[in-house]
């Protein structure tokens, strides 16, 4: 399980607002360390880069 919420950067838990937001948002915070990530959205996907934990990408269907 991730340590931090990828929407607000707070410790992972029950975040209804973040859960709702996640449908139309890429991740903003690294779920491993809560650093703000550099996010690039493209027409069919996204990449999110954490300076400590590297790059995450949307799934091909995203």
């Amino acid at each position: 399980m991730s340590g931090f919420c990828d929407q607000c950067g707070q410790p992972a838990g029950d975040h209804p607002r973040c859960a709702a937001r996640r449908e139309l948002e890429p991740p903003r915070y690294c779920p491993d360390c809560a650093r703000r990530m550099v996010v690039q959205v493209t027409p069919t996907g996204w990449t999110a880069h954490c300076s400590r934990h590297g790059e995450r990408r949307s799934s091909p269907s995203a």
């Binding site: 139309l24 996010v39 493209t42 027409p43 069919t44 996204w46």
Partner: protein, 335 residues
Amino acid sequence: MTTTQPAIVTAARDQVLERGIGLSEGQVLEVLRLPDEAIDELLGLAHEVRMRWCGPEVEVEGIVSLKTGGCPEDCHFCSQSGLFESPVRSAWLDIPMLVEAAKQTAKTGATEFCIVAAVRGPDARLMAQVAAGISAIKDAVDINVACSLGMLTDEQVAALAEMGVHRYNHNLETARSYFPQVVTTHTWEERWETLRLVREAGMEVCCGGIVGMGETPAQRAEFAGQLAALEPDEVPLNFLNPRPGTPFGELEVMAGPDALRTVAAFRLALPRTVLRFAGGRELTLGDLGARRGLLGGINAVIVGNYLTTLGRPAEADIDLLDELEMPIKALNQTL
């Protein structure tokens, strides 16, 4: 049981549908004040107007952010301002990724690709990146390229036209009377001046804004009237998506019926303009919104993702167009 058609709908049928004359500001306000029970009839009329004066084709566009975040302006709706505590960090897209984004867009069937940068206006570095990007796109993809790079000088307008940019987006965002509540680092008039330069240079003018930012219905009508006076080739219609950390981050999402009234009202004010469904529609109107909008005056969509947020899958909109028997506008066809 018979129902009486609201007077403004009857008037719009004659004035807009039959004669092609857009509604005035005062008439738009009457439309925006119609009760929920009149929305279906209103959307039906807006659809008839769109079919009569624009035709069944739909213009499909993809957009991408070339330079994200770190903007010096304070547009209160925008997560890319460097003045707010937004989670959006600065990023630059490199040329190979820009070309890939154009290819992804073209694959959906879209004929428009808009390159956007979060800046007050482009500096030399950004202009060079745009020039290189457009050249690479034109070598690899058959698609119209538009740009949205903030406020421009005469020389920058000329340079973009020379690069082959066929349309330039610069939104007035809201009514002139409400603009100071939305942006304080530049004026509505400065934006208007860029739009004037763009038109003079022969590029198509794309100018719209965001509704649901706390403006009154009268200001929304004022905005429609000001857009009609500008006579833009395209009006992108966004619905506020309240962004965390921005001054508008805690505003309520616009109610669906208000959004639909606005769509129809803008079509009735702008009978011949490309009226594009843009950001926030998923939040305001949900999945059904695309269908109701396309049957209520909309004749263009942004497909796929937006600049910093995600949209519906492009296939969902393309499949819907197919179901509605609305052909995608071909490359270089004018609506």
